[in-house]
């Protein structure tokens, strides 16, 4: 049976998922910023925006999270571990670029040592992705050899039907099937329902040429890096709004008697990121830091995990206060590579 989920059944879906013990999370717009948050009814969802400002990464790797509470006594240290609460979750309405990004980071967080904070949340989450029927000037998934309906990282792919009446659902995983069994009674099988064509996202740079140029050790010291990063103010916005950026820091809040150790986002754009206690900084200039970001995403990461550490969401360029981002840089590399 072709599974058709009608939009006006969405409230029932949410209620059934709640009844089955799932938290339901989706994009919500507040103060002009769309982010992923728990929803109780369909009207709270922002399914119109092309892409929420905040990424779905927030749900798996929050900006800050507690790891350990410590209490230091005379002859003992008591620690209490904080692992994510064991809750099944449905994420309704992620975009293919965001969902792909989570799958891209899986090998990194599981590289020999498994990060429980990441994988516990990954294992408990059903990712229901809506294929894109619209794109803006910054979207670039196709440049990364992905597409507005890439299945990577999704448990269910929804394709919008014409007239906005609902979605055609493709179940991609066991986890997706399990969540959809809960709402089976709500499906419609209107054979006339036609999915809208997916968005047309033009290819903006030549990824293969860029990767080849980046892999050439001669280009590591190229003047290109100084020029391209001249505008960068090192604010870190691109890294925080990047769904694949995964760098973090540990910080202890409290004193040497009691407190909390937290895992916080960090950014390769910041000078302090790599600075040694001695004051020596192996990446002392903004150009070295921007080069690290590009090299990491398109040379080091693919070399280790055979995946580009970029899913083409375009947030880095969209939100950059000085109008530079991955697209602009890889477009320039495409030019110099030829």
């Amino acid at each position: 049976m072709t599974k058709i989920l009608l939009r006006d059944k969405l409230d029932d879906c949410i209620a059934r998922w709640h009844a089955a013990g799932y938290d339901v999370i989706g994009p919500q717009k507040n103060n002009n910023i769309a982010r992923f948050a728990p929803v109780t009814k369909a009207s709270e969802l922002d399914l119109e925006s092309i892409l929420p400002e905040r990424t779905v990464k927030d749900l798996f790797f929050p900006q800050t999270e507690p790891m350990l509470r410590y209490q230091i006594g005379k002859q003992k240290i008591d620690t209490e571990e904080y692992l994510p609460p064991r809750r099944k979750r449905v994420v309704f309405g992620s975009r293919p670029c965001d969902a792909s990004a989570m799958a891209i980071d899986d090998p990194l967080f599981g590289w020999d040592y498994k990060d429980a904070y990441w994988f516990q949340r990954r294992d408990e989450t059903v990712m229901i992705t809506i294929a894109c029927t619209a794109a803006d000037d910054f979207c670039m998934c196709t440049s990364l050899k992905l597409s507005p309906d890439s299945p990577l990282g999704s448990d269910v792919m929804l394709r919008p039907l014409t007239g906005g009446v609902g979605w055609h659902a493709e179940l991609l995983s066991e986890r997706g099937r399990e969540a959809f069994e809960r709402i089976e009674a709500l499906f419609d099988d209107d054979a006339n329902a036609q999915p809208e064509p997916i968005a047309d996202v033009p290819v903006k740079f030549d990824l293969d040429a860029c990767r080849e140029w980046l892999a050439n050790p001669e280009n590591f010291e190229s003047h290109f890096w100084k020029e391209i990063s001249m505008r960068c103010i090192g604010c870190g916005t691109c890294t925080f709004l990047c769904p694949t950026c995964h760098c973090f820091d540990f910080q202890d809040e409290g004193d040497t008697y009691s407190g909390m150790r937290r895992k916080n986002w960090d950014s390769c754009s910041f000078a302090l990121f790599t600075m040694h206690t001695s004051g020596h900084n192996p990446r002392s200039t903004q150009s070295a830091r921007w080069r690290q970001r590009i090299m990491h995403k398109f040379n080091y990461f693919p070399g280790k995990f055979n995946l580009n550490s970029c899913s083409g969401c375009g947030r880095c360029s969209r939100q950059c206060p000085v109008d530079m981002g991955i697209t602009e840089t890889l477009q320039e590399i495409t030019k110099v590579a030829k």
Binding site: D112, Y113, F248, Y257, D266
Partner: protein, 288 residues
């Protein structure tokens, strides 16, 4: 050289608790702590995994964690020794800790010196200043099975006589007939009763002229010393593949995830910290 050990432990960022059982002043601002595990499971895991060259993250709750090598050898796993210079928040706090105090430890992480590959060979250890601790871990790992190796030469230099660390062990090595120990201090760093060499490590090494035949060199020191010592080793005829060194960078996680310790594509924490000079020469030099 990476050892792919899958760790099934639930929270890889949760440190073990260790007790300080001994504390030594090595040089101005440099201290050694001897630590004992408080939990048998943590200790068993350490004994199973630790090999010379690996590092750990030592910490004090409320201050944070700092990365340095395990200075004790793989042949002595009842405790961990770490030697560090008091320079930041964590190291100052560790330095202020007393015997009996509790600290945190995560590790051992990283790769190791493949000492089985050194069996039957001559060993040349070269260290500068505070870089004797990682070298010392390899030295004792070899000396504790001395019969498996041929000639052992140790060249150690520091800025001044006061800056030499492990003075009691230097004396022990000096008195052993199966070790050639060459000690030096930088010009101006000698004391009136200094009996050993005066000069920088590279030139002292060239004067001592150890033979590169059937010899493996382990070299640890500040970047400037490494740079010039590698030139001297080359002059003496050492091949880059037979020279091992250990690198360091700022780290937070120690397990290849937090994203800051890489030099080019190489994560020091997982693919290092031990590299051959041949591997190091392929990495980006300067800004990385």
């Amino acid at each position: 050289m990476t050892e792919n050990t899958h760790i099934g432990q639930q929270n890889i960022y949760k440190p073990a608790i260790m007790k300080i059982v001994d504390k030594r002043d090595e040089a101005p601002g440099v201290k050694t702590l001897r630590l004992e595990f408080q939990n048998q499971e943590d200790h068993d895991q350490f004994k199973q995994r630790y090999r010379t060259g690996m590092f750990g993250l030592y910490g004090i709750f409320g201050e944070g964690e700092s990365t340095f090598c395990v200075a004790s050898p793989e042949t002595r796993k009842e405790y961990i020794e770490c030697t560090f210079r008091q320079s930041g928040r964590v190291t100052s706090s560790l330095a202020d800790s007393e015997i009996g105090d509790l600290v945190t430890y995560r590790g051992p992480y990283g790769n190791r010196f493949p000492i089985e590959e050194f069996y039957g060979k001559n060993l040349l250890f070269i260290a500068g200043g505070i870089a004797l601790p990682p070298t010392r871990s390899v030295i004792w790992s070899c000396l504790d099975q001395r019969e498996k190796f041929s000639k052992v030469t140790i060249v150690y230099g520091a800025r001044t006589v006061a800056d030499l660390v492990y003075k009691h062990e230097l004396e022990e090595w000096q008195n052993r007939s199966d070790i050639d120990l060459v000690l030096t201090v930088d010009p101006g760093g000698e004391s009136p009763d200094w009996q050993h060499r005066v000069g920088f490590v590279p030139s002292v090494l060239e004067a001592a002229a150890p033979s590169p035949d059937n010899c493996v060199a382990v070299l640890c020191g500040p970047p400037i010393m490494i740079k010039f010592t590698l030139i001297s080793l080359q002059k003496l005829g050492f091949k880059e593949e037979n020279v091992y060194t250990t690198l360091e960078n700022r780290m937070k996680c120690g397990v290849g995830k937090c994203g800051r310790c890489n030099v080019g594509s190489i994560y020091i924490c997982k693919e290092g910290p031990v590299f051959t000079a041949a591997e190091v020469s392929k990495m980006p030099q300067g800004e990385m």
